[in-house]
């Protein structure tokens, strides 16, 4: 097993990249398809093909549509010409490629004596440099000194699609260019820019990032970026001050309102927290004795704060910061939202009278009526989840308008009266008889059904 996997490891050596740098083959590619062939080179190629038993051409075509520097499809080894051995692939004589302008860059190098060769090793083109970086080989960026060279290198890295290399080049540019120049050049290079922003985020160079956004007029990004920092502030008073400071940032109008809310909320939570902590520990208020607070209210969302206020500060006058009405007004909480939260809190306390009052409206004649901005089937659901007794539940089940829904809810929560009355009102004798079979014989429900069924005044529809 080990043997087999070793063999496989060897076959994918290029992945592992363990070749000795000294021995490594410099791959230099140049443009142009081979126009002819020098016999030995062809033989080399053929024999290498034969030795591996490869007949079919398995190379895949490039599909890249974005423009990139012209590339040949395979690497030709220059150093192997000197060393007289080829490690990979085939090679081809450079003389064939005359007429190709790029050859001139390399031709003089070939004529140099070997002793001088080392001096030229770092003379890699941007493309070669990027390639070497991708392969994890030795490279050098120092020779890219002119702005033009630096940008060529950056563009080549972007063309190679390798984020790791793009960032590496950007780190070099960050060190070797003034930020104004770098920012200016990045404006037109979206991909490189995003890498740069991500890199700065990761290494935590907040200040530079803010400057970058500023120079690009991305003010909203800048504001959010600075706002984000409040997450790192632990102390609530410092956090409040930090948020206050945020108010002046150039957020979008909507976000500015939200940040203002954030500041106001924390400011109030600090006041409420200090007060309630004191009240709770002094044992003055029953509500805290009966329901000790499980956690502090600091940094909780607005709705949680409203719930807290409906739980502990119900009935306080509008003027106090901790009153539900004040919170509702300050944070522009919708009727629906207010009702839901309030209902949850009062039901939790089993304050059914308060629950009742939430829905009760009086018309001009003094009659009361129950109204709700949300369907009563929802109200029933919430009450049930808060373990409301059947007597309370059935009042609300009765208010559900849709008859089918009403009956199904009533059956779910065993509100016998509602079901019986509904069937009676529907004059549905059959259903009533069916239902009689479902309730306990001799129970009050059973008797009630019997009574109705024996009522001769009713005109049944069936």
């Amino acid at each position: 097993m080990l043997k087999e996997s070793k063999r496989a490891v060897n076959s994918i050596r290029s992945l592992v990249e363990e070749e000795d740098e000294e021995d490594d083959v410099e791959k230099v590619s140049w443009s142009g398809e081979p126009v002819g062939s020098i016999s030995w080179s062809v033989k080399e190629t053929e024999s290498s093909i034969r030795s591996t038993g490869e007949v079919r051409d398995q190379s895949f075509p490039k599909i890249h549509t974005a423009p990139s520097l012209p590339k040949n499809s395979s690497g030709y080894s220059l150093s192997s010409l000197f060393k007289g051995k080829a490690k990979t692939g085939s090679f081809q004589s450079f003389s064939e490629s005359f007429g190709d302008p790029s050859i001139r860059n390399y031709a003089p190098e070939l004529r140099k004596p070997k002793s001088e060769y080392k001096d030229y090793v770092s003379d890699w083109t941007p493309e070669e440099t990027v390639k070497r970086m991708q392969q994890g080989k030795v490279y050098s960026l120092e020779k890219f000194r002119s702005l033009q060279d630096k940008l060529l290198l950056l563009d080549e890295a972007v063309n190679a699609h390798d984020g790791n290399v793009i960032t590496a080049v950007l780190i070099y540019l960050k060190k070797s260019l003034s930020k104004e120049i770098l920012f200016r050049e990045l404006i037109t290079r979206e991909i490189a820019l995003r890498h740069y922003i991500h890199y700065l985020k990761e290494i935590g160079e907040q200040k530079l990032l803010v400057e970058l956004f500023k120079s690009m007029d991305r003010t909203e990004d800048m504001a959010l970026m600075q706002y984000r920092d409040h997450l790192n502030v632990r102390d609530e008073n410092k956090k409040r001050d930090f948020l206050k400071n945020c108010l002046s940032f150039p957020f979008s109008p909507d976000d500015a309102t939200h940040v203002q809310d954030h500041y106001t909320l924390l400011e109030r939570q600090i006041i409420i927290e200090a007060n309630d902590k004191q009240v709770e520990s002094s044992g003055q208020a029953d509500i805290f004795k009966k329901y000790p607070r499980k956690a502090s209210i600091l940094n909780m969302p607005i709705i949680t704060t409203l719930y807290y206020s409906c739980f502990y500060h119900y009935g306080e006058s509008d003027g106090t910061f901790s009153s539900p009405a004040n919170i509702r007004k300050t944070f522009r909480i919708s009727d629906k939202q207010f009702l839901l939260t309030c209902l949850g809190a009062r039901a939790k306390l089993k304050a059914w009278f308060d629950v009742d009052a939430l829905f009760t409206t009086k018309n001009w004649l003094g009659y009361t009526k129950k109204r709700s901005p949300i369907g009563f089937h929802r109200i029933v659901d919430i009450l049930q989840k808060n373990n409301a007794p059947v007597q309370v539940l059935q009042d609300y089940v009765n208010l559900v308008e849709d008859v089918e829904q009403k009956i199904s809810l009533a059956q779910k929560y065993k509100c016998h009266d509602v079901i019986i009355n509904t069937y009676r009102d529907l004059k549905d004798r059959q259903q009533l008889i069916v239902y009689r079979g479902k309730v306990e014989r001799g129970s009050s429900e059973y008797r009630k059904i019997e009574e109705i069924l024996s009522n001769s005044q009713l005109r049944w529809k069936n």
Binding site: K6, Q135, A168, Y227, H262
Partner: protein, 617 residues
């Protein structure tokens, strides 16, 4: 529930070789630091490591103590420290602190960082800046691929999604290329590659270059065709509630690296158990791809069969009993154990789902997919937010609304965002900004101005600039075009037809018959057409970047239908869900194909959306 196989489905290649490769390389790397050493392992590398090696393997190679990387000062007394980490700045920073603390203390140790699957220049640069380059040696553990099952291979890089699609960082592109290269070298050569998405294209290029750099060996291909797909081609599918057993288990209990922890609730005992979920589990293997509504029936049938098998005992003589105990009992007991586990899991999931009114939630989702009663959907979502039910669920519904409707009306966007912030915390301003950047949750743009402008400008300038402009525009107004795509590809079957989930007729069964996953439908169409011909309108709506390439100039012999041609490797860049895998398994059974899913990570709606959160310090 045995599905009839249309044709003789080919055998899947043996991927255990990948594990051996990774293990052998790790051992080799550990041996590069001879002598006793303490090993610090990045938290999310621990499960993958568990799948290929165990503590004994490490101890055999002089690993003394094992620690989890916790970004805190260390207590190790060893003279040699080895760090097995992901190439993350945060972790490298912590190592720098450790080393510099030692230095300040006058303590001499040897340090080695093994980056997996590769190192990044930014990490090395940090070592240099912190003055410890040279004090620390670095290596790479090319553990690209972890086989999670017979047909699932994961790169275990959940950060791929955020890094690429949100931050626009292409650091993992070459990693994806290298992973493909590894598969190509061991199980190739591939003969055809199809793909869609910008990242897929780049990963293909990277792979192609690596093939050219290396040497090619002739071997019998085990995998013939490859399909690459970017996650953002289809963001709707991973955001839908999963209702296929394996997907549902993942949504509720979270499967981690092929392993799930069932809570006491499921095991009906006082402790939780970790269970491997893969094809080795015979019971699981039969229900994993089934719609949840079918699972109970199956399990009870199975339980009855088991009872019958046990009952055979009565009336046996001693000899028969002996054979029974030695041959059958163990298997039966094993099956019994698995069966009760999955029944427990099903019950627990049922309970959880009933509690949160799953039916109503699904109804809303299906309405969104169909584009039906959108106002009702919006009020449902609103109430979900108002009641402070799960934040991620609310966000998921909002994103589904935006993706299917091509963005929210400005007034809805403003109101829902405000209510969301009130319910879940104002710091989610940052989350909204991220969701907008990625195109998951956006405001509708007035009119079609952008598209018109784009095509007009496109005609005026040359290809190069046009490409850049298109990218710029598409990031401005990433349109999902979901409705049009749905019509074109018939993704949403007519709702008035009865859908028999017991005998699924198409891939829509994974969403109760309401929706055929776009990702899988594309794969089906391209394989059927052997390319993108006839799908021009579809690819245009998906922002293009599609490709189909064949190896070599003489593709004639590539057309020979060998077994390997019927094995298709599908690579998801940015993650895929178990539901999609189930859909592909279904497609494979229908067409006599076998799919191998390679993914940067297994994802689901919660993981995907949690990666968008910014509220960690």
């Amino acid at each position: 529930m045995a599905h009839s196989v249309r044709r003789d489905a080919p055998e899947l290649p043996d991927f255990s070789l990948l594990k051996r490769l990774a293990r052998d390389q790790l051992i080799y790397l550990l041996e590069q630091l001879p002598g006793r050493k303490d090993l610090f392992i990045e938290a999310d590398l621990m499960s993958p490591l568990d799948r290929i090696a165990n503590v004994t393997t490490l101890k055999q190679h002089d690993v003394d103590k094992l620690y989890k990387v916790e970004h805190k000062p260390i207590v190790s007394t060893s003279d040699q420290l080895c760090f097995l980490i992901r190439p993350r700045i945060k972790t490298v920073k912590w190592i720098c602190d450790v080393v510099n603390a030692d230095k300040a203390f006058g303590r001499f140790r040897r340090y080695k960082i093994i980056f997996s699957p590769q190192k990044f220049y930014a990490c090395e640069n940090l070592l240099e800046e912190q003055g410890i380059f040279g004090d620390v040696t670095t290596d790479e553990w090319s553990f690209y691929l972890l086989p999670l099952d017979d047909d699932i291979i994961s790169l275990e890089l959940p950060e791929f999604f955020r890094d690429y699609f949100l931050e626009g960082d292409q650091r993992w592109v070459r990693t994806a290329g290298s992973a493909l290269h590894l598969l190509h070298s061991v199980y190739g050569p591939f003969s055809k590659v199809y793909g869609i998405g910008r990242c897929s294209k780049m990963a293909y290029e990277s792979w192609r270059e690596q093939v050219e750099e290396g040497e090619q060996r002739a071997r019998q291909a085990e995998i013939g065709n490859v399909f690459l797909i970017d996650r953002d081609v289809d963001l709707v599918t991973p955001l839908c509630s999963q209702v296929v057993y394996e997907g549902l288990v993942d949504d509720i209990f979270r499967i981690k690296c092929g392993c799930v922890e069932f809570c006491p609730d499921v095991t009906s005992s006082d402790k939780s158990i970790k269970v491997m979920l893969n094809s080795q589990d015979k019971v699981f293997n039969e229900i994993r791809n089934e719609h949840f509504s079918q699972v109970f029936g199956f399990l009870s049938q199975k339980a009855r069969n088991l009872q019958t098998a046990y009952d055979k005992r009565s009336g046996m003589d001693i000899k028969q009993m002996k054979t029974f105990v030695s041959e059958e009992l163990k298997g039966l007991k094993q099956e019994h154990r698995l069966l009760s586990l999955h029944i427990g899991a099903s019950e627990s999931m049922m309970k959880k789902k009933t509690k949160q009114d799953f039916q109503e939630l699904l109804k809303t989702e299906h309405s969104l997919l169909e584009g039906f009663e959108i106002r009702e959907c919006i009020s449902y979502i609103e109430e979900h937010i108002n009641r402070q039910v799960s934040m991620v669920e609310s966000m998921r519904l909002l994103c589904l609304l935006s993706l299917t409707e091509n963005g929210l009306l400005p007034k809805d966007y403003r109101s829902l965002k405000a209510q969301f912030l009130q319910s879940y915390g104002i710091e989610h301003l940052l989350t909204f900004s991220n969701l907008k950047q990625l195109g998951l949750l956006v405001e509708q743009q007035p009119g079609e101005t952008l598209t018109v402008m784009e095509s007009r400008v496109g005609k005026l300038v040359n290809d190069k600039t046009a490409g850049k402009l298109t990218d710029a525009f598409s990031s401005l107004a990433k349109k999902s075009n979901f409705r049009a795509l749905g019509r074109r590809l018939n993704l949403v079957p007519k709702s008035d037809e009865e859908y028999d989930l017991r005998v699924p007729r198409d891939m829509a069964y994974i969403f109760s018959g309401a929706y055929i996953p776009l990702s899988c439908k594309l794969i089906e169409q391209v394989l059927e057409r052997d390319g993108w011909t006839g799908l021009e309108e579809v690819t245009r709506m998906l922002n293009g970047h599609e490709f189909a390439v064949t190896a070599g100039s003489n593709g004639s012999d590539a057309r020979v239908k060998t077994d390997s041609q019927r094995i298709i490797l599908v690579m998801f860049l940015g993650g895929c869900t178990f539901s999609e895998i189930s859909a592909l398994r279904f497609l494979g059974r229908e067409k006599g194909l076998k799919f191998i899913v390679v993914t940067t990570a297994i994802t689901n709606s919660a993981r995907l959306l949690e990666s968008m959160l910014d509220n960690h310090a």
